[in-house]
Symmetry: C2
Subunit: 339 residues, 2 copies
Amino acid sequence: MLDDRKLAVLRAIVEDYVSTNEPVGSKALAERHNLNVSPATVRNDMAVLEEQGYIAQPHTSAGRVPTDKGYRLFVDRLSQVKPLSVAERRAIETFLVGAVDLDDVVTRTVRLLAQLTRQVAVVQYPTLTRSTVRHVELVPLTDRRVMLVLITNTGRVEQRVIELPEVIEEARIAHLRAVLNACLDGCGLSAVPDLVADLPERVPAEDRPVVATILSVLLETLVERHDEKIVFAGAANLAGADFSSGLRDVLEALEEQVVLMRLLGETSPDTPAALTVRIGSENPYSGLRGTSIVATGYGSGGQQLARLGVLGPTRMDYPVTMGAVRAVARYVSQILAAS
Amino acid sequence: MLDDRKLAVLRAIVEDYVSTNEPVGSKALAERHNLNVSPATVRNDMAVLEEQGYIAQPHTSAGRVPTDKGYRLFVDRLSQVKPLSVAERRAIETFLVGAVDLDDVVTRTVRLLAQLTRQVAVVQYPTLTRSTVRHVELVPLTDRRVMLVLITNTGRVEQRVIELPEVIEEARIAHLRAVLNACLDGCGLSAVPDLVADLPERVPAEDRPVVATILSVLLETLVERHDEKIVFAGAANLAGADFSSGLRDVLEALEEQVVLMRLLGETSPDTPAALTVRIGSENPYSGLRGTSIVATGYGSGGQQLARLGVLGPTRMDYPVTMGAVRAVARYVSQILAAS
DNA sequence: CTTGGCACTCGGGAACACAGAGTGCCAGAT
DNA sequence: ATCTGGCACTCTGTGTTCCCGAGTGCCAAG
């Protein structure tokens, strides 16, 4: 259906358009890339490509521009992820080393990615549900209030103030803390609801109201934080590239956690480390017609904890961007595994 | 120097320009506001105002536009902070009630403020140094690592993993925890360095290396977090108002914690609750020529913990914006005091 | 199937004119 | 002394026209 030369023409169109931001014509194309054919031949190929929907012309008698479908083919079959230069790898390492806690890792990562790709970077905080409990702490604040602190193996700390139904002395708190830890230490967060289900029955009757209160808050924490925090950086990079769809739409999407979440997409269970590319109209939010998202999962020790990626104009350098996203994801995974 | 009518003219110019975004001429001005004078008189006044630097014309034979100096005079002497409508107060309450922790309060606040003012809102996390220690927790992770958790009265939690110089069993940890809490509980964070100074000498010699390690991390936490986190929201609101200075500059500034910090400014010690307004060139960052910042301190129980504010084009509705900032600051302070 | 030639199309920039809003200034009125 | 109406002048922004050139589609020949 599309012979090799037509594919080469498509590739050339994408590459030229990405670098010049101007519709590319048959003559310039035949010259710049050594296709060894005349412009007229290229024109014929272009006509076919256009008929099939891979390219389009903004106006009659203008050059051609890739369509979303064209970019899709380019990404799938005509390009290879471009590895980072040595200098860039260096930059990643020096940038990420020295992060003191999870917050710091995420913040540094998102900035790094934005700087590297010169686009908007998006990083999701590692999901709780896949991490395990490292420690549960109950801290007495007043005689009726305790603070619940949940520490996970990813270094994440969740805290919540609990209003107790009755006055309770420290010794009982200490005992409850021991019980909780005995029950939960080292367990996956997703297993917590099951593990604590029969806990009220295993404590003295007098403690049951207190335990119930604490457990309800604990479970609530797990559920509420399930929709995870997402941060972005590099919005300034949007200012340069003029967006077809309003810049406003893009900025709005970036501040909506829910939208961002859907944009980053789900990690496919079979190939979790695969790069996901969503091009223009492929993505699930109408305000982002003119933008593409390159994302991938990351996480320590083989298990995927969350996703990160970049967002930019459809007209982006996919090979380079994909290379950067992949590399950063790997480094962050390493860092997380080590800490 | 400037009689009442000239001031009225300046006020009218500011108000009209803010609402129309177009240079305002003498005729329209004399009609819309009932100044009871002819356009010619207005023109004479305008000439004086221009000579003094309060207004300027973009081109010869165009209307007048307020200068930074003009806005300054308007803010200082010609306008009053506009109280919020009942509906807006309602909105604030319903929006802030139900925040579960400090993170949540800050996130909700910044969004609320952005929505209310239709501008970019900026909120600084409450500063550690003015809060007090509610609890210090040492959580054993492995036999060589403990996690230090510091809980403040503002609900803030700081955690740090500590690599110990020697293996240490739980009982000793528990003891150290008790010692630390006895020493620090309820104290102001700024007093912590003094309070722990002689702590190593008050424990058995064998514990000193461990204590020293822990204390150094503790102090480090206090110092490092002194430059506080700042978040913003509402960047999408920048898209509408076309900025004279590049949009890019503004977005860049927003992502630089340090710059933001300086923009929000210091709380003046004598009148901490006062609204600070920085207009255009008055602010300390050259990239923000065309933007103004309206900020104020906030905090629980009379003591100022941090600052919040909004950032928008110089051409903003100062009375309304100032009203919103002030109101939000008050509500947040209430919420923080209650929790 | 490829190539060169050719007529056609359309966008974008330059040149131009023009209306309208606004100003500055002056002389007369209050 | 101050305000007012009148008047000439100066711009910007907009609409119009025109033309160049890049690019196309098609056709006939290689």
